[in-house]
Amino acid sequence: MIHLAVSNVHKRFGGLHALKGVTFEVNGPELIGLIGPNGAGKTTLTNVLDGAIKPNTGTVYLNGQRIDQLHPYEVAIAGLGRTFQVTRSFRRMSVLENLYVPALATRRAADRKAIHAKAMEVLEFLTLGHLRNEYAQALSGGQQKLLELGRLLMLDPGIVILDEPFAGVHPRLMEIIYAYIRRVNEEGKAIILISHQMDSIFSLSQRLLVLNFGGLIADGPPDEVKRDPAVIEAYLGTEEEPEGDAGARDDATDEDNPTHR
């Protein structure tokens, strides 16, 4: 049974308070949508969860194991996988090699033969089978997104964070991603889905988390969250915008963040 407990997580970048006491739990194979305006702190939260950024205060526990001080590779092995907002496939490696990396790193599959068989099954599911030996750089943007999703299937984590999986994807590939999400969820994994595509996220999610200016302003079923005045205010704005806080950023990278490992 998957259990993720995020407790009072704060993250500051200099004067920027990117995450302000974020607290929530994931219990079992939930399909959770994480939304918020640009700069709300969604990607920063993802980076904290996967170990790329250490929080200033607060804790993250995955299945009873504290993971907020672990390296990203340890977090991946502990059972939390993620995709990136901008696709990060291994471009000068073949499609199959892209899939071998997580399987060999975590040693979840028994041997190379089993890894290859699973990789082929994943590629067929993602309609990338015919491209197995091509370098990833030969794939279209949408296909590279599928490849990144395929790597997560090979990693086989208990909880999956998908960061903007629908961005810039052709409707036909979108169908494959929907099927992927359903499959992952049916396999008993929890999913945190980050997207700006409200239609998709409202139709897929069983529960929504809403971040705004680094703080969690709503947590509940999509229908309730949709009517939440704080959420409406965050998305539509009011006449007076909050002042005195620069807000969080979506795109904190290790170039501008010295704590990023």
Binding site: D50, A52, H71, P72, Y73, A76, I77, G81, R82, F84, R88, S89, F90, R91, R92, M93, E97, Y100, V101, P102, L104, A105, T106, G129, H130, L131, R132, N133, E134, R151, L155, D254
Partner: protein, 403 residues
Amino acid sequence: MRRRVPHLLGLALLAFFLAFPFVYSANDYPYVMHIMITSFFYAILASSWSMLAGYAGQFSFGHIGFMGVGAYTAALFSHYFWLSPVPTELCTEYRFGETWLVVVNPIGVTSTTLTQDCLRQAMEMWGDAVQPTRMPVWIGILLGTLMGGVFGFLIGVLVLRLRAAYLALFTLGFAEILKATISAEIEITRGQAGMELPALFESGVTLFGHTFDKTDKLPPYFVMFGLLLVCLAILAWLAGSKFGLFVRALREDQDAAAALGVNTTRYKVLVFVVTTMMAASAGAVQAHYVGIVTPNNLFLLQMSLVVAMAVIGGVESFIAAAIGAVLIEVALEMLRNSFVIGGVEIDMTIWRLVFFGIVLMLTLRFARNGLIAPLIGYFTRGHVARETVEHRLHPRAEEAAAK
């Protein structure tokens, strides 16, 4: 069949280099053999650098420094450590059974003229009665290799957070500091005077029923060629294992590799240790072969030459880098012959470097993956596009064939 062509060519090359010393018999035999040995030396440096820079994306410019670590470790070891059947009672010495390990005191560059070190003083007293012996050469080479690995580990740990230009500058700084330290520490390293080393086979060696003395080229030819084969075999094994897969993932995207469970720290340090050990072993063997090592061996120009060899061969293939190194070393020597055009003598000892520079520039501009790697790629990956089309058109054909 096409995929087997590189293997067949590899076997042909292996046969050629194994037979070459026995087949070639021109008057310039020692000179040509020297060129071949030197080209093998550069092939080890270029292929190991290709693993570091081409596979793992760690653009280190300190490789020649690690070569120097191996060379100087072997030199210091053979210079300062001796075995004697009797104690000198002048040097620091340790008894091991019937033998004394003598540690000679450093006296800088004046040893042969004004003063003598403790061992030479003792030998003068002993006359011919006692003959101390040098430590075995292979131990020095082994120590040089290990020391290269130690330095590789330290530098690998220090550059963990550095990428691209910062990594290149850091490693360049290391090589320059090492060279400056060796030049400055005259007391121990003899500075620019350099350190003499015994030959690989100081007392000669018998091979194929023939006795070779220490100046013969055939034994060092096979030692350096053997070392090259060992290094290439290790590189091939690593490239085909998960090590090769992970370091390439590291090159492509370190953060993404970590997010997929790859311990990027471990593999970044490991690739430094493995490749620097290879560079150090080549340096140690070359130092014993040449018989002297000086700080000039660590010049930046030497590093540039290694990088150029790997780039022209193809930096993302260690085999291509090794072949590139051999071809370029041989070509540079062949181009030494000056010639006359219309009464004007072209001095190729200078112009050959211009030619080399032009080849490098053209390669970087028009063949980013080198001149040899694409040829290997044609045979090993040339079928991929056709297969992709086949699989797309007939997705079940392969399964049916398998059944």
